[in-house]
Symmetry: D2
């Protein structure tokens, strides 16, 4: 199975709000303050959103994100995804020092599901996507979003 | 089965972002700009959150909300819920005119699930809640939150 | 807020399949082998289903059920719910000895969401339900299902 | 981003139970009667499970599956996934005639999430998977399951 790149999503996170060690793991909320989407068919701004991360005893952060995107030509797309982020030493260091990581520094993958009513972007509703993530400096996250070739 | 009132949640909504008529219904996102929680055991502020409403052909809005609450004594609680809001004529009028409704004006119920790591509020993790909602003027929503007696 | 009883759901469980202590809790699967629904407006058989229980360190079992119901007049209804079951001493004893509990022996509540395309039962799609559960002898679970009055 | 094949999952489906055209689409339930998992690291039997398919007006079936697997060396793994299946003409014909399709005959992809408490298979909890599906004759579904290289 081959993948081709659809777009890049870059999102800026607010300071984390620590919900704490709850019944199914340690929950941390990050508001999404903004961002961009760049690609051949998808371009626009991340308007708002949030990440409800759940950190497990296995050193893995379970990603749970919802975000609102407005394209350059004024379509609204809702993107939601779950996924996995391996909190290894490289990631921990980057988080502590406010630096970034490369795509192959960690196991960080998601399954973005997009939804819109805009005729011009109907194809996002029926396309399966895979996101490959990394950290960027200054509390940013970047995903390369792929689709089956 | 008897219920007793636990608290009131009042939340202010931003202007809606219309995702449009997608594959499973018409999606509208409302950001939550703030709010309050008031009760005997629960008091605090709604810090942020969102509603990802899904409106069906049956005149019913399926509620899907996530919000972050900070109590007056500095605990963080994550509240998520799904539920049903009947979009009858009274509700439609209130939405158009920016007015409110009474609790018995519509079928508007949710099942709030609360999550925290704070020792003082551990009981919210293991308590089942029912929310009974209504609209308030100026894009606010109010829930009476109940628990089994 | 007042509730009125809608129906009883009684379901028989297969032997548990222990998935074990995973990343978000201890998962146990119970297949549902059958059951009945009895009420003024809802009567039929539980055809199949499953419970994907998640047991937390807080002595609480998070319920996650999906089941298929066929009414006496041949409508198909899909019922799904999440909820909470307090694993206190009375419940533990009942589980070990294959006996039952009373409704007020434990905090055991769910939020059944029903779905059907059958015209005669359209109302289940737009009605909010609350389930109050207890254990019956021989690996059965019984819910009183309520709706707002 | 490169993927490598992890295993094959083949599942046999019971006759569909048609829930009908509900509030968010047309729901059809298929019980899973059994199946196999075959791969270098994962081998075993599908014990039970179900698919709660949701068919939209866009000719796309939204997949929602939960299944229980027992490995050849007696570990229990819970697999759940959502995904997309394009109901094009080739798929429709195969469904009507009880025949199969090839992997490139349709857009049919899922995101299997696996969960276990078994030490020997801990890695499934923290590995992101992508499933590529096709239909087999006699109401079977086959997935090639991939992971990032």
């Amino acid at each position: 199975m081959q993948l081709v790149e659809e777009c890049i999503i870059r999102a800026s996170l607010h300071e984390p709000q620590p919900v704490g060690a709850g019944p199914i793991g340690t929950r941390v909320h990050y508001g999404i303050s903004g961002g961009v989407v760049e690609g051949e068919r998808l371009n626009g701004a991340v308007l708002s959103g949030g990440e409800w991360a759940l950190i497990g005893p296995d050193g893995c952060l379970r990603v749970d994100v919802r975000m609102q995107v407005q394209t350059h030509d004024d379509a609204h797309i809702y993107i939601q995804y779950v996924g996995l982020l391996e909190l290894n030493e490289t990631v921990q260091n980057a988080l502590e020092n406010g630096t970034g990581t490369e795509f192959d520094d960690q196991h960080f993958y998601t399954n973005p599901r997009m939804e819109t009513g805009d005729e011009r972007y109907r194809w996002v509703n029926t396309t399966f996507f895979v996101g490959e993530g990394r950290l960027l400096p200054n509390s940013q996250v970047e995903y390369r979003v792929w689709r089956p070739a």
